[in-house]
């Protein structure tokens, strides 16, 4: 009864969040004395597939059916559920990505499994009791949920479990699942990928700007700092509401919840709705000219000062640091 992990790829490459999910599945398998089978769907090279072994997958099922080239959650969920049945897997792990969110509930229904979405830690297993800690109330809290079904589905939040190397066989096998034509009612017409930007949900560092920046024309320094740090850019709700930045960048309770290693907030006061979306960040830096800004209460490091003076100095300091590193 191995743990099955769905190894999501982006344009043929596995992402860090996929390796996190494999490492996570490996740890569950070690705790329960079983194996890890990874499942990949779509055109992924043999070397890339074998790389899953490095993080503990004994077996890698490779589905290369041309009809599954584009992500259709209905069809992918059927394939993953079929693999789980074939492997007799009790636990299915996947990443809580945009795609993962569309898959986990469907797999849960197919396998009559409880679904722990938004998992942030390894499950605790004692006897028949299987509990998982997950986010709740948009980052304002965590809930510990018990999955009481025989089968379980866990969707892991990116950047909440460390990629851990643990070499296993990584034996690649072709897997030809049954394809149900009725799963393909949705048709992908167009994929628009912006490759030059770090994607916000996956980012390890996020540089975020608020109303304190006074206008969209002042985002150049935010982007420059983000570029230097290999970070994604983000913003607060008033900024996206005002149309200064696109909605995709809005971090907070009604936007995206992020969990980067480093979140740098510039000119954001820290309304409760914004704090909800960043509370899982490992380190928070706040730059604000108001020493009373509520954001300082949840920050690890802070600079009280005008963003227009502080950020350029910070950019210079990062350049200096990078030149010396």
């Amino acid at each position: 009864m191995p743990v099955l992990i769905y190894a999501e790829n982006a344009a043929g490459k596995f992402k860090k969040s996929t390796y996190e999910a494999v490492s996570y599945a490996r740890a569950i398998a070690d705790a329960t004395g079983t194996n890890v089978t990874a499942l990949s769907i779509g055109g992924v090279s043999a070397d890339e597939l074998a790389s899953l072994g490095k993080y503990g997958a004994e077996k890698v099922l490779n589905v290369s059916n041309a009809q599954l080239k584009n992500f259709i959650n209905q069809a992918y969920a059927s394939v993953i559920a079929e693999a789980a049945k074939k492997e007799n897997a009790d636990i299915v792990v996947l990443s809580n990505s945009f795609s993962g969110r569309g898959l986990a509930p469907r797999i849960g229904v197919k396998l009559e499994a409880g679904v722990a979405d938004g998992a942030v830690a390894l499950p605790e297993i004692s006897g028949d009791k299987f509990t998982v800690k997950k986010t709740a109330f948009s980052g304002k809290a965590f809930a510990t949920v018990q999955l009481t079904s025989a089968k379980k589905v866990i969707a892991l939040i990116p950047n909440s479990y460390k990629v851990t190397e643990k070499q296993a066989a990584g034996q690649v096998e072709d897997f030809s699942p049954e394809i149900k034509q009725t799963d393909f009612k949705a048709l992908v017409k167009e994929v628009i990928q912006s490759t030059d930007k770090v994607s916000l949900p996956d980012a390890e560092i996020v540089v975020s700007g608020g109303r304190g920046l006074k206008g969209p024309e002042n985002w150049g320094m935010i982007e420059e700092l983000a570029n230097l740090l290999g970070a994604a850019t983000a913003c607060s709700k008033p900024v996206s509401d005002a149309g200064w930045r696109p909605h995709e960048e809005h971090v907070g309770q009604t936007g995206i919840a992020v969990s980067p290693n480093l979140y740098i907030a510039v000119g954001i006061s820290g309304a409760i709705q914004h704090l909800a979306g960043v509370s899982s960040s490992k380190v928070i830096v706040v730059i604000n000219k108001d020493p009373e800004a509520p954001f300082f209460k949840v920050a690890d490091y802070g600079i009280v000062g005008d963003a227009f003076e502080v950020v350029p100095k910070l950019i210079a300091a990062v350049k200096e640091y990078k030149a010396s590193a």
Binding site: A10, F71, I72, N73, A77, S97, F98, R101, G102, A104, P105, R106, G108, V109, V115, G118, T135, A136, F137, K140, A141, F142, A143, T144, Q146, T148, S149, A186, L187, V191, I192, Q193, S194, K197, D202, E204, I205, H247, E248, T254, A257, N261, I272, Q273, S279, V285, K297, V298, A299, D300, Y301, G302, I303, V304, V310, K313, A317, V318, E320, Y321
Partner: protein, 245 residues
């Protein structure tokens, strides 16, 4: 075109979240409940799509009588009628099952939810309803258009977006960008009182998830302030102490 919008009743976004009974229950004392903001977006788009007699909108909620204020709000914004499945929403699976059962008896062309509820954030109901009814579903959409018997949606993917064409019926979860939330006008508020609100008893469902306890994020230690003219110090701390760059 018949549209069903699934709505939930959630704590207002400004709510400070606390728990009672040894951290096993959400403390609703003094909490203002609202129509889930993403459901409001879904409903607002449904209103735009049916303007000029192009269709009807039903809202459905799984909840006890206490959610009726939120249901009336949805009617005031512009839904034509409402259904309340009379049960405590145990979890997403329970809610999805109840909604799917209702749709089996009362088919719709388009079933909309919010991308997630802001209390449990599962993004599960849309995909579960889709799976239970063997319909296509898209969990997080940024745009929605309809044309005859099909829809076009734009969904967010990591680092980009994807456009899909889907024949009716299908299920989609609305996110920001789909529509601007509509505010009820006086006529809407007046008419909401008399619009039909049907109460349906729940179907029996086996549950497979129990919330055991809650906790709030661990408080951070006191913020370390760096002088504004010494940014280099911050980089040093982030590298040497916090080890994040």
């Amino acid at each position: 075109m018949k549209i069903l919008v699934c709505i939930s009743n959630v704590p207002d976004t400004t709510t400070k979240i606390t728990f009672t009974d040894n951290n096993t229950q959400f403390n609703t004392n003094g909490v203002q409940f609202i129509l889930n903001p993403y459901d409001e977006i879904a409903l607002s788009r449904a209103i735009e799509l049916t303007e000029g007699g192009k269709g009807t909108i039903t809202v459905i909620n799984v909840g006890e009588t206490s959610t009726e204020a939120t249901i009336r709000k949805a009617l005031a914004i512009g839904a034509d009628d409402a259904v309340r499945i009379n049960a405590k929403p145990h979890d997403a699976c329970f809610v999805a099952y109840q909604i799917a059962e209702y749709i089996k008896q009362n088919p719709f062309d388009l079933i909309l939810t919010g991308r997630e509820s802001i209390d449990y954030n599962g993004s599960k109901v849309a995909a579960m309803v889709g799976e239970l009814l063997d319909l296509p579903s898209v969990s997080i959409i940024k745009k929605l258009d309809v044309d005859g018997n099909s829809g076009t949606v734009e969904r967010e993917i990591e680092g980009g977006k994807e456009v899909l064409a889907i024949p009716f019926p299908f299920v989609a979860g609305a996110a920001e960008g789909v529509a601007e939330p509509k505010i009820p006008n006086m006529r809407g508020i007046m008419s909401a009182r008399t619009k039909p609100l049907k109460v349906v008893e729940p179907a029996e469902v086996k549950t497979n998830l129990e919330v055991l306890s809650y906790e709030t994020p661990a408080p951070r230690s006191q913020v370390k302030l760096v002088p504004a003219d010494d940014s280099g110090k911050l980089i040093e701390l982030l590298h040497g102490e916090a080890r994040v760059i």
